[in-house]
């Protein structure tokens, strides 16, 4: 389901500066309220959690509900504390997870 993600993190930043991070991932976010051709309900399957860690420490987390639009787009901010790796993880109801990594150089 989560075949493709687009993450935008600045490649460099000054120490202590606040950077904007943009994330976009493909997922239908099936609400569980739709019905297929036969009238049977299509079961719910959404991304329910999104986390961002910065060199292993969680700096942002979102709990998603069916009211979040398909192909979830979330942008947020974080302080550029040190050079390292930002890891973005999405977890869906069916247990599927997807992780994207981005490097940042902080001087």
């Amino acid at each position: 389901m989560m075949s493709r993600a687009l993450v935008h993190v600045p490649k460099t930043a000054t120490q202590g500066g606040v950077i904007a991070i943009k994330t976009l991932i493909s997922h239908p976010m099936e609400t569980g309220y739709r019905h297929g051709d036969t009238g049977a309900r299509i079961p719910r399957n959404i991304i329910n959690r999104f986390t961002c860690t910065y060199n292993g420490e969680e700096v942002f987390r979102a709990d998603l509900h069916p009211a979040v639009a398909a192909n979830p787009y979330i942008t947020f901010h974080t302080v550029a504390t040190e050079t390292g790796v930002l890891a973005f993880t999405w977890v869906a109801d069916d247990g599927e997870t997807h992780t994207e990594l981005a490097n940042i150089t902080v001087d």
Partner: protein, 265 residues
């Protein structure tokens, strides 16, 4: 008042209002100077979604298309790249001049059809079914290589007959609401329907990420939706009517810039 009766009243009112509207509106095609993309009718939020490649959900499909471009497929085990190389050069301008006449098959074809023909004849793979995600992704990836370029329909006399068919379909009243494409998109663009502006129906950004679909879709899917709307039997995917309409819509949009992958409400 039951909802069924209420609804029938409204459908009748809509038809009546449109019919009276026609008498006062100008019938006919839109002059080149007045042609506007659906982009111009969208909200600032939707435009922002389209303009930012890191926020445009259609770009997810474009990236999938890029991956498919480089993937070997079919009995021939060839990728698009094996013959066409780097798409950023080889595919630049291609979408701007499609639909085009395909001499090998003796008929006009759309760009998605061209891609599917390559798949079956050159890659020797099973052709994609309608609205297949990978087909949309490849169409989006190839289309995006012409983004920003003006639509330039080929000046090819072999397209004339199909173009005329497309024009006739565009002006044909259809469905229980008995409306033609022209009545809304030529005569009444700028007016509103349910709070949203009626745009000109310029197909500049297909495949589009449509908010209504919450995903990518083709021009054929969009036209089928419109036909449901006027309670007409929609044209089948891959039909001659769709091809003729695609060709006419392109001629009608000549000069407007390609926006693939566009975002539309």
């Amino acid at each position: 008042m039951t909802s069924a009766r209420f609804y029938r009243q409204r459908a009748g009112l809509l038809a009546a209002m449109v019919l009276t509207g026609i008498a006062t509106a100008v019938a006919g095609e839109i002059a080149p100077a007045d042609r506007k993309s659906g982009y111009d009718f969208m909200s600032a939020q939707a435009r922002a979604m389209q303009d930012d490649d890191t926020a445009n959900p259609g770009m997810l499909s474009v990236l999938d298309g890029e991956a498919s471009w480089n993937k070997k497929a079919g009995a021939a085990q060839k990728s698009c790249a094996d013959c066409h190389g780097d798409a950023t050069t080889s595919m630049q301008g291609v979408a701007a001049r499609y639909p085009a006449y395909d001499a090998a098959h003796g008929r006009p074809i759309t760009l998605p059809q061209r891609i599917n023909l390559c798949r079956s004849e050159n890659q020797k793979a099973t052709p994609f079914p309608a609205e297949n995600a990978e087909w949309l992704a490849l169409s989006a990836f190839v289309g995006q290589q012409s983004r920003g370029m003006p639509i330039t329909p080929p000046d090819d006399s072999r397209l004339a007959a199909t173009l005329e068919k497309g024009r006739a379909l565009y002006f044909l009243r259809q469905g229980q609401l008995n409306l033609s494409c022209a009545q809304c998109h030529d005569d009444n663009w700028q007016q509103k329907l349910s709070g949203n502006p009626i745009q000109q129906g310029q197909a500049t950004g297909y495949p589009v990420y449509r908010l209504e679909w919450q995903g990518m879709g083709s021009l054929e899917r969009r036209l089928r939706n419109c036909m449901f709307g006027v309670r007409a039997e929609p044209f089948a995917y891959g039909s001659e009517q769709h091809l003729a309409l695609a060709l006419y819509l392109r001629a009608r949009a000549a000069g407007l810039k390609i926006e693939t992958p566009a975002v539309r409400p």
